[in-house]
């Protein structure tokens, strides 16, 4: 069977973008097989079909996996894999054209986002304030190691950009909900 690999990078709150990407791939005849390592997506050739992909982030679900997956299976969702705390599901769009989702109200969409925030953002914040920021300041102000300071500064800038993006998205979601 013909297969292909693609490298894709999605930041913390881009799971909707990732879902769209997988759906587009399936629609163009590439069925998602797995994602591994640092964002390497594996596909195999298939008949083009409109299949909805959905990501959930639920630690409680992963801790009670049997019951968690049973619920999705009962509702007709195929489970694919877990990756970085996310669980991947898919379901073909029905004949009458209804594209189902795994969340049916804004409240639960928002809760999903809060779980992602807690699970993925907090560790980043800890790394930021506990190691990156102090290292940057030490190299810049105390040891005057500008080469390292520039390097860490670059990572810091990336971090801040991600934080800003997440924050904007979070606010957008919160306003949407109201």
């Amino acid at each position: 069977m013909e297969t292909k690999k693609q490298f894709k990078w999605f930041t913390i709150f881009e799971y909707e973008k990732e879902q769209d990407y997988l759906r587009d791939m399936h629609r163009s005849g590439w069925k998602f097989v797995k994602v591994k390592g640092f964002g390497v997506y594996y596909f195999e050739k298939c008949t083009p079909q409109d299949v909805v992909y959905q990501l959930d982030y639920n630690k409680d679900g992963l801790a009670h996996k049997d019951e968690y997956l049973r619920m999705f299976d009962d509702c007709g969702w195929e489970y694919i894999q877990d990756y970085a705390g996310y669980s991947y599901f898919r379901k073909a769009v029905s004949k009458d054209g209804v594209a189902e989702e795994i969340f049916c109200d804004d409240e639960s969409r928002f809760q999903m986002m809060q779980r992602v925030l807690k699970g993925r953002m907090l560790p980043l914040l800890v790394i930021f304030f506990a190691t990156l920021l102090p290292q940057f300041l030490i190299n810049l102000l105390s040891t005057h190691n500008y080469f390292i300071a520039t390097f860490i500064g670059g990572i810091l800038a990336m971090y801040i950009a991600i934080f800003a993006m997440c924050f904007a998205k979070y606010i957008q979601y919160k306003n949407n909900k109201k």
């Binding site: 959905q54 959930d56 639920n58 409680d60 679900g61 009670h64 049997d66 019951e67 968690y68 049973r70 619920m71 999705f72 009962d74 509702c75 969702w77 189902e100 989702e101 795994i102 969340f103 049916c104 109200d105 409240e107 639960s108 809760q111 999903m112």
Partner: protein, 104 residues
């Protein structure tokens, strides 16, 4: 009733409302999905992500409780607190409905 429960459940989401309504008798998540689809003639289709998240949250809030497991499905039932919250919500909806009828 503490403030957190009041804030989250008065008023509550349609999902929470149907979960409480259906769990007056023990049932599992998918059972609730099917019941609601039937009760609303297919107008409301609850989904697994929402259901799983809501059930665990509502269990933590002690408005429903875990009864037992059957065939890998968790069976829940409403608690006294849950019944109380459901009554408050019903009264609220009734009041809204009455006001609307008088006004229209």
């Amino acid at each position: 009733m503490d403030q957190h429960i009041k804030k989250v459940y008065v008023p509550m989401t349609e999902t929470a409302f149907f979960i409480l309504l259906c769990l007056r008798k023990p049932n599992h998540g998918y059972g609730i999905v099917q019941m609601v689809e039937k009760m609303t003639d297919g107008a409301i289709k609850l989904t697994p992500g929402t259901m799983y998240g809501s059930l665990s949250k509502m269990e933590k809030d002690n408005v429903i409780r875990f009864v037992r497991e059957e065939d890998k499905r968790k069976i829940y039932q409403i608690t006294d607190l849950g019944l109380e919250v459901l009554q408050i919500e019903l009264k609220r909806i009734e009041r809204l409905y009455k006001i609307a009828q008088e006004e229209m």
